[in-house]
Symmetry: C2
Subunit: 289 residues, 2 copies
């Protein structure tokens, strides 16, 4: 129990580091003059600093630490991924998508700044993600090309946006387990995976290590979705897009154990000891909300 508290504290420190980098970048990026542009920056900052868990960028930081890479090297990349995550939430909340008024206990971006500015803030955040990569990794063309391709693949039609398209068109048809996995892999898994894989590449990991960490990231992303379904069982058992609706509660719990075990095994191929990253897996398996 003491260990969990200590790890929670360690995690909170990394969240703080990420928060600071994200806020500094968006607050300090030089912009043209004018009240409208200042307001658009405010709208970007509103959503990018609204108390999110920073799951993806903290993952990047932990992977860097695991591989003995100074975290300063991965922070711009980690922030790029977080800005993409933020933009996706703003666009998802829009009336033409999920039409959500609240997120994390606060009014959604379009409720505060209007739909037009929410749309633009999302567009600007996505664009800024690639700016961050170009500003920080261009001295190594190979690295920059790889990071940009990885992010574009994970964020665009081959990844997150593609997953949203599947989700929107899935309707009430019962999904198979494979279809549901495919959906999660694209919609949420891709960006989680890339936050691990990109950090490994920046840290100069060997190809075999990158491959293992990629699988670790993929497994972790899927495990979170499966754990969500376990937590929401009862509510979601009839859901055509939940694992509990497809393989039942007990089957889903067993599946979660399997994924967690194989994900941990991938991590251990890279390092026998990785307390923080191990903690993320066990935390997920046992979390209550």
């Amino acid at each position: 129990m003491d260990l969990a508290i200590q790890l929670d504290k360690e995690m909170a420190l990394r969240v703080q580091t990420v928060n600071q980098f994200v806020e500094n970048y968006l607050s300090e990026m030089p912009l043209p003059q004018g009240a409208a542009i200042a307001e658009l920056r405010k709208s970007m900052l509103y959503s990018a600093t609204n108390g999110g868990k920073r799951f993806r960028p903290v993952l990047s930081v932990l992977v860097a630490e695991l591989l003995g890479c100074p975290i300063e090297k991965v922070l711009p990349f980690a922030t790029a991924v977080e800005l993409i995550h933020t933009y996706s939430l703003i666009h998802d909340d829009l009336p033409c998508m999920d039409n959500d008024d609240m997120r994390r206990g606060k009014p959604t971006n379009h409720k505060v700044f209007g739909e037009d500015f929410a749309l633009l803030a999302g567009d600007a955040l996505l664009t800024e993600a690639f700016m961050l990569i170009a500003q920080n990794y261009a001295e190594n063309g190979f690295l920059m090309g790889r990071l940009t391709q990885m992010i574009a693949e994970a964020a665009g039609i081959r990844g997150m946006v593609g997953g949203q398209a599947i989700d929107l068109r899935a309707g009430q048809k019962q999904m198979t387990k494979e279809e549901l996995e495919h959906l999660h892999r694209l919609k949420t898994g891709a960006l989680i995976r890339v936050s691990v894989e990109g950090a490994a590449v920046i840290a100069g990991a060997k190809p075999s290590e990158v491959e293992s960490l990629r699988k670790f990231g993929e497994g972790l992303g899927l495990a979170f979705q499966v754990a969500d379904d376990v937590l929401d069982h009862g509510e979601k058992d009839q859901d055509v897009r939940s694992f509990t609706g497809i393989i039942g509660l007990e089957g889903t719990k067993k599946y979660l154990e399997e994924i967690s075990t194989s994900t941990l095994a991938e991590l251990h191929k890279v390092s026998a000891e990785a307390p923080m990253l191990e903690y993320l897996i066990s935390f997920n398996t046992s979390r209550k909300h």
Copy 2:
């Protein structure tokens, strides 16, 4: 007159080359399986191949030709800029922005595919633009970094998106000539400028040539907006955001001549003869629609 017809034909050939590249890229990019993702690709293609003038990518091609650079080298960059232009039109047409039902004589993207898919198609096109840069220019890290930064600056809050924000918040307050120029420079000028500047950089132009071509692109972009106001005079004379509303019809015509002359002068610093690019300037000054 014969010369104009010949130049029109030459222009049409380049439009064709660009059309083919854009269509091939979007049709052939490898995607995950599934009907929803296929539909999203269709939505991207619908707007990216709807008979646009291809002004920006053709500019890139012409600059490459002027500098003796094989056009294959600039086509991926030119297409990236065109995909960004396309995404901006899709998002602009959405009900929460301009709420337009028709574009170029056809129903707008959201009228055909729904608002949700239109939003996603725009997001995916923007992301894909950076994929194109990474896939084609990564062998030269300096070039790739510069192109990505240029595009992100021209497309994001420092450029096009920032200009849209200014436009949305401008209301009915009378703008000064300087404010209107600032708006155009960001909203439409930045992407036109970058299609010239990026091609010059790819072609390996000297810094002084890049600088002159950058000013040429900037001037050309502004000249198009000023010419629009001349053409729409009567309609727009009372418009708080038109040059004719600020400096009158005669003043605006004179201003257009000034910009065209200085823009031509920048071009001539790079090359004494540039018939196609000169033609764009004179075509703009004398166009009737």
